[in-house]
């Protein structure tokens, strides 16, 4: 589990700090894990949802002519995609971690 956190540090150095802190805290306190994992996932999902909404909005604006900038829309869509991908990877790793820990406790 330690390794996976370090991997995030190395490849995504500018990942938001409070999110990192949450992961660090999970390493330390094993009791509150159920709730905290949920919280992290919820936070991620909310962020991803917002970005997807933003991307959809900019697509709508492109269609109706409010925004005319193709690169703006492409980037909004791409940012939403990346956020989604990141969320999926983190979700997978968190679930793996969670399962490992559950196995340990038993």
């Amino acid at each position: 589990m330690e390794d996976k956190s370090i991997q995030f540090h190395r490849y995504l150095p500018s990942i938001s700090n409070d999110f990192l802190e949450k992961i660090e805290n999970q390493n330390n306190t094993s009791k509150k894990q159920d709730i905290s994992f949920q919280k992290i996932l919820k936070g991620l999902i909310d962020e991803v949802n917002q970005l997807q909404k933003d991307a959809d909005e900019s697509i709508q604006k492109l269609v109706t002519g409010q925004i005319d900038s193709v690169h703006q829309v492409m980037m909004a869509v791409e940012e939403a995609n990346i956020a989604f991908q990141l969320m999926m990877e983190i979700r997978n790793k968190l679930i793996d971690t969670y399962q490992q820990i559950m196995r340990m406790q038993i």
Binding site: H71, E78, I82, L86
Partner: protein
């Protein structure tokens, strides 16, 4: 994602795409008006502002703030119709600007690819 939209390079590249778009509009307008009597060409100032900003230190906030400016070029001309558009120069600017746009778009694409790779891990 807070982290991507606070990255100085990413924001800079995003802004440069906007600047190139504005610049193209202006060059296109200059070209369309090459035969209009009395027309004075316009130009976009941005890179100089960026340079002076670089000396004082670049951060996300400053990049968000800095805006390109449109200037009317009042230099005189030999033309009888007082139009100061030099079509050759405009064509050069057109090419340069188009290439720049491609470069910035390419760089953004590479950056996004790197991030996607990083997410996939190992």
């Amino acid at each position: 994602m807070g982290w991507l939209n606070n990255d100085v390079t990413y924001l800079l590249l995003k802004k440069m795409l906007d600047v190139c778009t504005l610049r193209h509009r202006i060059i296109a307008n200059n070209i369309a008006n090459v035969d209009t009597p009395g027309y004075k060409r316009t130009t976009v100032i941005f890179e100089e502002k960026l340079r002076s900003l670089l000396k004082r230190g670049l951060n996300a906030e400053k990049i968000r703030e800095i805006q390109p400016q449109i200037y009317i070029d009042e230099t005189s001309t030999w033309r009888e119709d007082f139009n100061n558009v030099d079509i050759e120069k405009e064509m050069v600017r057109l090419s340069t600007n188009t290439l720049r746009y491609s470069i910035y778009a390419q760089l953004i694409e590479k950056k996004l690819q790197t991030i996607k790779q990083a997410i996939k891990g190992k």
